[in-house]
């Protein structure tokens, strides 16, 4: 299982054909208290860079973009009742969407952890 990062602070953990997507600790800190997450419908297909979800903090709404193309196969519906999980464990229980990755070669455009750390430094 490898984790890839986008410049927009999403992460995707890929295991075989499936990728779990969320936002980074850095992004969660920048957003502040998350009060609502709007998740896509299961079955929706997205292209890399499409709006995938919306995360609302006390102050503002922010778009979450698809790191790669694919089909939504699961969403973290626990976030409806407990959006604060995004702040508590953004790279764990606060995940957003599970995607069936359409084209694994798109992952090559993303950063690895060291690259992302340098990006936010």
């Amino acid at each position: 299982m490898t984790t890839h990062f986008t410049e927009d602070h999403e992460w995707i953990k890929v295991d075989g054909e499936e990728g779990v997507i969320g936002i980074t600790v850095h992004a969660a800190e920048q957003l502040g208290d998350v009060v609502f997450v709007e998740l896509p419908e299961v079955g929706k297909t997205v292209e890399k860079g499409d709006e995938l979800a919306v995360v609302e903090s006390v102050k503002a709404a922010s778009d979450i973009f698809a790191p790669v193309s694919g089909e939504v196969i699961a969403v973290n519906s626990a976030l409806e009742a407990e959006p604060a999980k995004v702040n508590e464990a953004p790279e764990g229980e606060g995940w957003f969407v599970k995607l069936k990755v359409k084209d694994a070669s798109e992952l090559a455009d993303l950063m690895d952890e060291a690259g992302y750390k340098a990006h936010i430094a």
């Binding site: 502040g32 208290d33 009060v35 609502f36 709007e38 919306v54 609302e56 006390v58 709404a61 959006p83």
Partner: protein
């Protein structure tokens, strides 16, 4: 284009306290320290210290009734030691700003206007005053607010007389060696104080206040969510020059004597709106689910757009998304079921009485 941001006298203290800063009305201001939610709840449970030095402070001397010509206040009933809220109107009765007017002493009146509008306000006032009255700005003064149920204890520790004030009283006080103009008022719906202090003594005063462990520094983020729950307008959002005091549901800020005399700007329009009701008015709402409605979202009933959200967000004390907006008056009744379009999806909401979180002003 990058403009150089102004710094308040507390700027270095904000950085020292670990604030996340944000540009606001030309100033580099603290958005938050530990987090908006925690700061909001701390203010309602204990007390918060706010830097509002970006706001415009000034004194008007001479024939101060010149200010009445532009506003809805009756200065004849404003005694020394009292403060009042009023509205600065353009000739059509549109709201140019909302402001606090007070008499901390015998020397004319003291006003506090919004940061984003201060330059325009002061120019408008001076142009109207001519030789009748003089407006002296106080750029060398900082403005601090202490808000929350423990604010009185924090102030009392610095000067026992502070606790004897009631809501909307004002005066000169010495807070543990620092001379200030202090009113019992604020922008959170809580009991509290607003304190005008010389810039060079502002950080010293802030440190004295923060030495009280009941008081935490609070940023603009929580200031916004607190005032929203309290049903208090944010100028440029919940009111502007296109809105009259009646549309803005601020009839109480138009002095009765002024209504009788019909001698304020736009009086004809405003009195007509009082008699016949305006086409739209400002209301508060709460969402049925957890999605916050933001400024600009459309309010619909049965698929028809009947209004617009002017302020909206999550209310930490209400524990649900709250907001305010303008809606066609026939739909403005408390309890009306509405829908608000959020990213294309209609979500249920209800018009509710404002304030959404009850005011706790100290009225003696």
């Amino acid at each position: 284009m990058t403009e150089t941001l102004h710094l308040t006298p507390l700027h270095a203290l904000h950085l020292e306290l670990g604030a996340k800063m944000t540009p606001f009305a030309g100033y580099d201001m603290p958005l938050q320290y530990e987090g908006i939610m925690a700061e909001h709840l701390h203010t309602r449970a204990h007390a918060g210290l706010f830097d509002v030095s970006h706001m415009g402070q000034a004194r008007i001397t001479g024939d101060v009734s010149a200010l009445e010509d532009l506003t809805t206040i009756d200065l004849s009933t404003l005694k020394v030691g009292e403060q009042r809220y009023t509205l600065l109107l353009n000739k059509d009765g549109g709201i140019m700003d909302d402001l606090m007017v007070s008499r901390p002493d015998e020397d004319g009146i003291f006003i506090v206007v919004n940061a984003a509008t201060k330059t325009q306000d002061f120019a408008y006032m001076r142009a109207h005053f001519g030789d009748r009255a003089t407006l002296t700005e106080y750029p060398e003064r900082a403005l601090l607010a202490i808000q929350g149920p423990d604010a009185v204890k924090a102030v009392e520790a610095l000067n026992a007389d502070g606790a004897k004030m009631i809501f909307m009283q004002t005066g000169h006080f010495n807070l543990d060696g620092i001379d200030v103009i202090m009113s019992r008022s604020g922008y959170t719906g809580e009991d509290g104080y607003e304190i005008s202090v010389k810039a060079e003594e502002a950080a010293d005063l802030a440190r004295k206040v923060l030495a009280d462990t009941r008081v935490k520094p609070i940023g603009l983020g929580a200031r916004d969510s607190l005032r929203l729950e309290a049903g208090l307008c944010l100028y440029g959002h919940d009111m502007d020059e296109s809105r009259s005091p009646i549309e803005a549901s601020l009839i109480w800020a138009v002095a009765k004597s002024r209504r009788e005399r019909a001698d304020f700007p736009g009086a004809q329009r405003i009195l007509k709106e009082i008699a016949e009701k305006p086409a739209q008015k400002r209301v508060g709402f709460v969402m049925r689910d957890r999605a916050p409605a933001r400024e600009g979202a459309e309010i619909v009933i049965n698929g028809d757009v009947v209004g617009v959200v002017t302020s909206g967000g999550f209310g930490p004390s209400a524990d649900k998304p709250v907001g305010m907006g303008y809606i066609a008056t026939e739909h403005a009744a408390i309890g009306t079921e509405i829908e608000i379009l959020i990213r294309g999806k209609a979500r249920g909401a209800e018009i509710v009485k404002m304030p959404i979180v009850e005011h706790r002003f100290y009225r003696g």
